[in-house]
């Protein structure tokens, strides 16, 4: 199932959070060879994790991390605007209708449903929050995976060679892709909405009768 969890709420999901940061370490440091900081527990975290981002996480039946990505509004600090604006022709990508999406990660234990679920989750954010675009820094070696799920980003700039290669990409809402992801997961929109609402809503709703 999908969970939408703010950074400060990760402590309510210790197993999920631990396996997410561990899988990020395995993917970004070990497999992709990025020069990222990994702590003694094998957790990969950067300064943007400290900004209380919103994580969309695919949870496996055993409660561990199957895949995840991290969102921040571009009206605040973002990786692109802080470090990679030279790859965007000097345009600072900043708008309340654009969020940054980074650290797209898939656990080795996960099956194809993980990536499909994440794409679905990104679509739910767009539909529910009136977001029109996502932008993000990604490893061009991931493009093949993105293509597989019909969510190849528009690459607006890239630099470096080998493991240092990095690209800035854009994604926008595609309603057909959203439908396709539901079909691939074998769930209805109602189920997807339910996952979203269970994460985003407090357990006790406001009563009009009060």
């Amino acid at each position: 199932m999908l969970r939408y969890v703010y950074g400060h709420d990760l402590k309510a999901h210790p197993r999920l959070a631990d396996s997410m940061f561990r899988d990020r370490g395995a993917q970004f440091a070990d497999r992709l060879g990025w020069s990222v900081a990994v702590d003694a527990r094998g957790h990969e975290r950067d300064t943007y994790d400290a900004l209380d981002p919103l994580y969309v996480i695919w949870e496996l039946p055993d409660g561990t991390h199957g895949g995840s990505m991290r969102f921040l509004p571009t009206t605040g600090p973002t990786m692109i605007n802080d470090h990679f604006s030279h790859l965007c022709a000097g345009v600072r990508i900043e708008s309340p209708l654009i969020w940054e999406c980074t650290r797209f990660c898939i656990a080795p234990r996960a099956d194809r449903r993980a990536a499909v679920g994440l794409v679905l989750g990104a679509g739910e954010l767009m539909l529910n929050f009136s977001i029109e675009h996502f932008c993000g820094v990604f490893d061009p070696r991931m493009e093949r995976i993105y293509k597989l799920y019909g969510i190849a980003p528009e690459v607006i700039g890239q630099s470096g060679t080998g493991p240092q290669r990095i690209a800035v990409g854009l994604w926008e809402m595609c309603h057909a892709a959203h439908e396709d992801m539901l079909r691939r997961l074998g769930i209805t929109r109602a189920v997807s909405r339910d996952w979203f609402e269970r994460s985003m809503h407090a357990p006790v709703p406001m009563r009009e009768s009060a």
Partner: protein, 237 residues
């Protein structure tokens, strides 16, 4: 109907003091024919300021009772950045229930939507729309107006930041050369596809450049962004 929001945005950008912000909240409320619009800046030290259409009696009551302490809208929004429907918040607890009853008595409304805004250097503000209606009517309204409300929220916040930095302290950032080029081509009547081709970029990238320019110009949409760029002399045809 768009043009009315456009003129409210113009009014907002011309605002010189808090009373102008106040009038802008009234104009937004009237445009949507809802109960309230409120812009509320809360500093990390608990100081607050803002503008809005809540009754003076409610504002006084809120301040007198120090409701900032327990207001679920503030507490629920402080650690997030997505738009929040008040039904998502935790209204349990005796104190909060009493607060809710009072809010309803003072005409705040039984429905609410709040956008938390994280500004520069830890600045934090809330932009709220509220009304008295049923759930279906409210979600239909939010579905229709959310994009505009998000844009309005950020324009109120830009203005408040400008006031905070003192007159002339935080001028609107100029368009970058690529944003300027994108807006200029559209202003000359080129289609997005043609403009993208002229600039040697994809249409999607062009849309993002235009969106970045729209946000800088405080415009509602592309057409409005073009008009604002022209009136500000930000582009030359």
């Amino acid at each position: 109907m768009d043009s009315e929001i456009e003129s409210i945005l113009e009014q907002l950008q011309a605002a010189r003091d808090l009373s102008d912000l106040q009038r802008a909240t009234e104009a937004v409320r009237d445009h949507y024919a809802i109960a309230h619009i409120v812009y509320h800046w809360v500093s990390s030290t608990g100081d607050q300021y803002g503008a809005g259409t809540y009754s003076q009696a409610w504002v006084d009551r809120y301040l007198e009772k120090g409701y900032l302490r327990l207001d679920p809208v503030l507490h629920g929004c402080q650690q997030r950045f997505d738009p929040v429907d008040w039904k998502q918040l935790d209204w349990s607890g005796r104190g909060v229930q009493a607060f809710l009853r009072e809010a309803l008595e003072y005409g705040v409304g039984n429905q609410g939507w709040t956008l938390p805004i994280r500004g520069p250097g830890g600045q934090f503000a809330l932009f709220t729309a509220s009304d008295r209606c049923d759930d279906a009517q409210w979600s239909a309204f939010i579905a229709r107006a959310q994009r505009e409300l998000i844009i309005l929220a950020h324009e109120f916040n830009k203005k408040a930041l400008e006031f905070e930095h003192g007159r002339g302290g935080a001028p609107a950032p100029p368009l970058s050369p690529r944003e300027q080029a994108a807006i200029t081509f559209i202003a000359r009547g080129l289609s997005r596809a043609q403009a993208a081709q002229e600039m040697g970029i994809s249409e999607h990238t062009l849309r993002v450049y235009i969106e970045a320019a729209r946000h800088k110009l405080g415009a509602l949409n592309t057409t409005h962004a073009v008009a604002r760029a022209l009136s500000r002399d930000a582009i030359v045809l």
